[in-house]
Amino acid sequence: MVLRLAPGDPVLVMVAGAQNLSPADLQNMRQAYGLDQPLPVQYLNWLKHLLTGDFGQSFLYHRPVLDMIGSALPNTLILGVLSLIVTVVIGVPLGVLAARHRGSALDQGVRVLGAAGHAIPDFWFGLLFILILSVQFRMFPVGGMLTIGKDNLDIADRLAHLVGPVLTLSLAGIANLSRYARTETLEVLGQDYVRTARAKGLQERLVLYVHTLRNALLPLVTAVGNTIAFLLSGAVVVEQVFAWPGMGRMAYDAARSKDYPIVMGVVVIASTMLLGAYIVRDVAYGVVDPRIRRA
């Protein structure tokens, strides 16, 4: 199951071949960077170096790509990990509660949130956040990671800078996950063994938390794994909106200035992270659901 997901790199192969097709790039940097060689040769060279852990140098900054990614990646990870936590901590309970109180105002609210959270463009939500809370009410900083001139270790300042990006990045995931959690919980609540649990006089609380949730939350492991793909894509946009100095923003800037080694490096790292997340997801599923292991 894990191996099926492994061939992530052939795509990078195609992308890498295609990316050097840009005529502008060929003209500008052909000679200096060995770009006058045929594309397959260039690609193979790039791949050969990649295999030895050498991501090449930035065209623009003349710094090793790996160094640059190394300095931007932690910022993206902070954002991503916090968003993932917020997504799960808010999304799952919302979905379970909605299923528990089916048809109630809360249930309706979660459904509206599910639809709205799916439909709202993340960058627009970020812009509204900045417009309303930062520009008009001046409650939060408009962007960046910390206020210039402030102490590096000013935790409150750092947290204030995190609120907007994390909320924006989590929104779609919360909508998605709460919807999913609701469906799964409802599914399990309709099972015979839940009826049995109720029939033997168990408290509703125990029925929900002991008998239902353990089974309902199994498929959620998959959903959480998929959320990571979401976050990796969303990071590019959100980092741009909030001027967050992360990997997504770096890739974007590099892409605009045709600094291909950086773009390629970021895509390789991001895909590797995604594959890693998928592997963890599949392994975790096997751990929480022993039936899967035999398959």
Binding site: R4, H118, L131, Q136, S233, Y252, A255, K258
Partner: protein, 304 residues
């Protein structure tokens, strides 16, 4: 033998026709979905009528500038400035109408490509199984392991696409989901009695796939497509917002928001209209998809 084939065919025909008819009946009682459909129809009508409206009602073209009127707040007195004007004094409402054209066209065009590729490969993989299935699954899983936006980032920068190229690119990047879905549906249909009966009766593979499998997969693919159009509009607007999709001066909801960010404090109204338009469109498409699915398969109902 002869009669049993006909019976199974007739049964299937009846069930498809019945499927659509009952679905329609259910839809008529679903006010949310009907409302969403109406909103979408109005939007399409406005987008189609953009030329007529801008000339006759607003007296303003979509790229027409008037620097003296830059950052005019929304006002009822001049139709062209109902939604205010942007940094170059362009009419926000006229640009919104033309932006609707771009978003709706790009979204539905790319979704159509998704649907076509997804359906073709999904049917092939799901029905034939074997090496064709392995190959399709391999490509699908490979593509799915690269995060979408970074991938599009590269492609967009490379090709600096116009609207048509953007449709093709979005279509080509996002088909794996549709393929997986069609494959899953086909796979489960392949074990059903009427398919096995058809095979036993000696019907050709092509006939079975086109006449028996396709009609049963199609309704659900249409539902998927409705939601997909919305997702694609989101992706297109995000790319355009980043300056990698539809390039100015052609207005798109995404690049109108880029304009809005140039000075948030001078033109806050510029943030509301394009984003609201994206939100409303995607929301309606999502509700329609949801409603159609409920109507087609009540077991999956939202309230069930």
């Amino acid at each position: 033998m002869e009669s049993s084939i006909r019976a199974s065919d007739a049964h299937k025909l009846r069930s498809t026709r019945g499927l659509w008819r009952t679905a329609l009946a259910r839809l008529q009682r679903d006010h949310v979905t009907l409302g969403a459909i109406s909103v979408l129809l109005i939007m399409v009508a406005l987008a189609v009528a953009a030329d007529v409206l801008s000339v006759n009602l607003f007296h303003y073209r979509e790229t027409q500038q008037d620097l003296l009127d830059s950052y005019t707040p929304p006002t009822l007195s001049t139709p062209a400035f109902w939604l205010g004007s942007d940094n170059l004094g362009r009419s926000e409402i006229v640009r919104l109408l033309y932006g609707a054209r771009v978003s709706l066209a790009v979204g539905s065009g790319a979704a159509l490509i998704n649907l076509t590729i997804g359906l073709a490969l999904g049917l092939l993989a799901g029905y034939s199984r074997g090496w064709a299935d392995d190959l399709v699954q391999f490509v699908v899983n490979t593509l799915l392991s690269v995060p979408t936006i970074p991938l599009l980032l590269i492609v967009s920068v490379l090709f600096a696409p116009g609207p048509v190229a953007l449709v093709v690119i979005l279509g080509l990047v996002r088909w794996p989901n549709a393929t997986l879905f069609a494959r899953g549906q086909t796979l489960s249909l392949g074990e059903r009695e009427f398919i096995i009966a058809g095979r036993a009766a000696g019907a050709s593979t092509l006939r079975i796939v086109l006449k028996h499998v396709l009609p049963n997969v199609l309704p659900f693919m249409i539902v998927l497509t409705a939601i997909d159009v919305g997702t694609l509009i989101l992706v297109e607007s995000a790319l355009s917002y980043l300056g990698l999709g539809i390039a100015p001066p052609t207005p798109s909801w995404g690049n109108m928001l880029t304009t809005a960010t140039q000075d948030l404090s001078r033109g806050p109204w510029l943030v509301w209209a394009p984003g609201g338009a994206i939100f409303l469109t995607v929301l309606c498409l999502y509700l329609v998809g949801d409603g159609l699915r409920d109507a087609l398969d009540p077991r999956l109902s939202r309230s069930a």
